[in-house]
Symmetry: C2
DNA sequence: ATGTCTTTGTGAACGCGTGCACAAAGATGG
DNA sequence: CCATCTTTGTGCACGCGTTCACAAAGACAT
């Protein structure tokens, strides 16, 4: 079996904590909104509120990038947008391929948040030959057999998997074989990849299950129906 | 302004750490696969590999639920499926409404992972009156104005938002007003909700940005182009 | 120039999550 | 019934992430 790590042990990449990296896109989004409203500067307090985080955390996050603020004033919005974009690598163009053009794949292809942040959809791929040539988001769907040549020709390093679970591992292997080193996986499967390849997963039903857990807990507490709310181990009845 | 927390401060709900809750759906998925292959028991080592986590972590996670394993043997697959399902609240039916039936909303409506885990789509809602009545995943799209009555009639407590960012907060307010207490947000916005309402967000472009960060880092290290890989602060050139 | 006021940047403490390593528990075979 | 072997359950230590609280820095007014 291959190595199959998708959990890197929280290595801080170039001194920037993983948790901070995960929040940078959040700040960037809030800053972009301010920029569009032509707001010149913003304090850590205001920006933190807009991004939905604690202001101390935000300041510490920014401190990893350098001293980009002015005491007594705040942060220059445009300058910060540029710095964060650069840090995230969004000042360059990232060609991506989307594999699996079902409902979800089509939704991703149409998603505006990609193009506006330097991600360019290089190609849409699907195993269903009858889909080939159909236009989705202005791009023709191409057959999966073109994967290798497309990845090579466009120097694609990021792949998005929106296939059924059963096809995900095979698609992954082909992507990695063709040179892709980052994968965003929407299929509900654990992917095995060699070292050096990053995988991030988005599982729609997992999020819903976590909500259900808390929802159940809320119902239990309010109505006092089950789980007497203490922390007794609650040995199962039978 | 409303409270607008979406980060609960890692309160452990009924003694089960938040991090563990987030992994339970992962274990459940792996166990379901084993169950379908009629595997009777599984060791922590095997299950951990299938779920893509450390085996010690898995054992500790299960220890929060109780002592459900047998030393020298492992865990009974069926029993564990039941226990985790019960813990997550998946033994009961959760009616959900999906608001915003664009590409993404349609993808969610068609997603099989919902129905198979006790989530029942009670209704599809959209503000576009011209969509009303159209069938998506076998369900008729209904107008957003029916939101309140649908939520009340079906006792919906979970709402999924797949609208454009601009509409998300208003939809949230209406959902909360109608009695929804858990929201899964796909719109790229920070939502303000009163205390007692849980929000989880899934942002497609954020994940991609995090990948881009690491991708850039890999490129920099390999080619020795930028960032000389030491952890010097790297003061920006100009 | 000097003082005041605002806001950043960070040292330090704390708490959660992770992983090691091992003792306890039970199965299995003789 | 006893010995051996497998696998769980967990005590413990460590490290990352979060938050508080404050000193340093600079803007701005006088």
């Amino acid at each position: 079996m291959a190595t199959g790590r998708s959990h890197r042990p929280a290595t801080r990449s170039r001194g920037i904590p993983e948790a901070t990296v995960a929040r940078l896109p959040l700040y960037l989004r809030a800053l972009t909104a301010l920029s569009e409203r032509s707001v010149p500067t913003v304090s850590s307090e205001e920006l933190a509120a807009a991004a939905g985080v604690n202001s101390a955390k935000l300041r510490k996050d920014f401190s990893y990038l350098g001293s980009y603020g002015t005491r007594g004033v705040g942060y220059d919005v445009e300058y910060l947008v540029y710095q964060i974009s650069r840090e995230l690598g969004l000042t360059q163009d990232w060609p991506v391929v989307i594999v699996g053009i079902g409902n979800l794949g089509a939704a991703l292809a149409n998603y505006g948040g990609f193009a506006s942040r330097g991600f360019r959809v290089a190609a849409l791929l699907d195993a269903d030959a009858s889909l080939a040539g159909r236009l989705v988001a202005g791009l023709p769907v191409r057959h999966i057999d073109e994967l290798e040549s497309i990845v090579a020709d466009n120097q694609v390093s990021i792949g998005v998997i929106a296939t059924p679970a059963g096809a995900a591992q095979e698609v992954t292997d082909r992507l990695v074989g063709a040179g892709v080193t980052s994968i965003l996986n929407f299929a509900p499967t654990v992917l095995s990849v060699p070292d050096g390849v990053d995988v991030r997963k988005v599982d729609l039903s997992i999020e819903l299950q976590i909500l259900a857990f808390h929802e159940q807990r809320k119902a239990g507490e309010t109505e006092g129906r089950q789980e007497p709310d203490g922390d007794v181990p609650a040995v199962m009845p039978a």
